[in-house]
Amino acid sequence: MSGLVDRHISFLEALRAAGMSVSLAEDLDAVAALSAVAWDRREVVRTAYAATLVKKQSQRPTFDTLFDVYFPRMVGDGVAREQEPDADRVQDNAAALAAFRDDLVDGLAEGDRQAMLDLAAEMLARFGAMPGRGPGLSSWSAYTALQRVSPQELVDRIAQALQVDRPLEDARVEARRRVGELTGLVEADARRRIAEEKGPEHIAQVAVRPSIDRLDFTAARKSDLEQMGREIYPLARRLATRLTQEHHARRRGPLDFRRTVRASISTGGVPLVTHHKPKRPHRTELVVLCDVSGSVASFAQFTLLLVYALREHFASVRAFTFIDHVHEVTHHFRPGADPGDVLADLAASTAHAALWGRTNYGRALTKFEESYADALGPKSSLLILGDARSNYADLHVDVLQRLAGSARHSWWLNPEHRRHWDTGDSAASRYGAVVPMVECRNLTQLGGFVHDIL
């Protein structure tokens, strides 16, 4: 029993370290749930833990990764492999590699989950081992295994095997999906083997990425950016629902005397329910000015998409992009347009925002004042997105001061961590003195900010 409680506690510690809020009550619930189920199936144990500890779907990948590390699927090569008679056959040479790749094609074409798990484990054990000089120094590398076997190159062969009952294009999509799944399995198995060597705490510290809504825009990989793009629309919907509810809650205007008296007749002249006149909502005109240079482009795109998804909460929205020149992009945001298309259009129009291609905030602000000064008025709010890194060019703080002065409100969103502000060529505090600057590194902060300005 002793080892089990320790493992349970350290698993919870790791979940907390990864940013999940697991309370003591949930800890006790988990223990109660575990006592209520049989332990002969790993998935049942996983479900019992998940039902009591994970209360947000965005945390589920983190949970699954850590569960696999703390409660591994098998130890070492597993029981099956140790019992195999040909354990002493050649593990790794050119012929073995070719033979394994053939097996892999068959296995992936079959698509059985258990077979894929076994293949992933075998692939890592044979081609991803990095023998060390002494005990405890050997390690495993999913990267090496994937480079050597390179399942990506097998997609065509798998697609051909799958082609029997569907068109080739479908088969290729399916084959690519299965190869992607295999890649994930091999990476998971590498984590398992490393955790075995070095202890789960080690892997919990290094291999777990923050969940997608807490991942920094600037640290996101390509696949993360795609996933973030998909999160924008649900986020906008959540924000819109919350805003409508809050506006409704505050909607109660002055007492509507006539309706109250009229309603009181049905209760014998006692005014049990009061009626109120509706309050007129207040909507601002939003002007968004975004830096779309390479370092912050993705952040600008997400913010623009989010603002546009919420455009019915604004009287109007105008968007401008800049690098060292200003370009209006409002027309790309058609109502009901597909976010993917809009992003593609935006990327294509980046060229208009650059003259020499080096970010220059001072020049961009001056150009904006020259060409689009009419966009800002007493009813409008100015939102500037960017990292305030202007390549040591003239900042033109006075122009920003005039722009901010002509607008009703102004904010500056900076996608960098506060500790990087004012390092290198960042002019965060000089601009921040004119326009309040807010740190906005991930989707959670972005959602919070947009909610607050509405």
Binding site: E26, A36, V44, A51, K55, R166, D170, R242, Q245, G268
Partner: protein, 292 residues
């Protein structure tokens, strides 16, 4: 005397009995449903629209012979609609009726705050029943934050406090299911008291089973093709991905129109059943290379 638990005896039992009633649950769903019964904790089910969240509560009620008490949440739901309300009109009548007699005010006062004048709403009804009950709090994310506070007492202690009557504790703990579309984050306090289950789109094999069991008239070959097409639509980056409800609707449409082959033309013609946004339809036509 502890009554025997009317709910499930094991995860496997949950799978079998739910399947017998026509709800094909996967293992995680069945295990969590079993845990909710065994631990007597409320079950919070989250997921996209149309994956069978509400249906899960109905299925549990069906297979365990319990009665379903449903609280449909909406914006502006308040205590009077969720918990209980005093029947003011009847109380006024009672007071007016007693004015002629020589009954003292204190007697009248005691008289009008009794069960007779209490209108029980779903939460109180579920707690006061002595038969097995499944309490379904549907779309809890649609309510205001204040209602969550009201749910807390019910969810953690299964009791309701009525100032005039005292605290009403549950005679028998109901099986509570809360559903949410995650249109807003629920408070930590509610989540802490619940077991959590995320229902997502099922894998192809399970969806095929569900479609075949719901629409037995559909040929297996077309059903397979339909499930595969829906799977590909879900991979596209759509505003509203089709859910199980839409797959079943699509299958019914194909049967009703007597379409014997799900080819490109048939898909393009009936796409409106599955995708409800113009931009989604355009995208699907482009991506699936359908004739428009």
């Amino acid at each position: 005397m502890p009554q025997p638990s009317p709910w499930f005896t094991s995860p496997a039992d949950a799978v079998d009995r739910l399947a017998a009633s026509g709800y094909l649950a996967d293992e995680a769903t069945a295990t969590t449903a079993y845990l909710a019964g065994a631990l007597e904790k409320p079950l919070l089910v989250e997921g996209p629209a149309g994956v069978g969240k509400t249906e899960l509560a109905k299925a549990v009620a069906r297979v365990t012979g319990a009665e379903l008490v449903r609280l449909q949440c909406y914006e502006g739901l308040d205590e009077a609609r969720a918990l209980y309300e005093w029947n003011y009109k009847k109380q006024l009548l009672r007071i007016q009726a007693s004015q002629g007699s020589d009954q003292s005010w204190s007697a009248t006062h005691d008289d009008i705050f009794t069960d007779e004048f209490l209108l029980t709403r779903p939460l109180l009804t579920a707690i006061r029943r002595d038969e097995p009950t499944v309490l379904l709090v549907d779309e809890v994310d649609k309510t205001d934050v204040e209602v969550e506070g009201l749910l807390l007492e019910v969810l953690s202690d299964f009791q309701v406090t009525i100032p005039e009557l005292g605290t009403v504790a549950a005679l028998r703990r109901p099986f509570v299911v809360l559903t949410s579309n995650a249109s807003r984050e629920l408070s930590e306090a509610v989540k802490r008291r619940c077991l959590y289950l995320h229902l997502d789109y099922p894998d192809a094999a399970r969806e095929l089973q569900i479609v075949s069991s719901q629409v037995p008239d559909l040929e297996d070959r077309i059903a397979g093709r339909l499930v595969e097409t829906v799977g590909r639509l879900r991979d596209l980056d759509l505003k509203k991905a089709p859910s199980i409800a839409e797959s079943v609707d699509w299958a019914r449409t194909l049967v009703a129109l007597e379409i014997g082959e799900l080819d490109e033309k048939a898909v393009a013609d009936t796409l409106g059943v599955v995708l409800k946004h113009v931009s989604d339809q355009e995208k699907a036509i482009k991506e699936l290379r359908l004739r428009s």
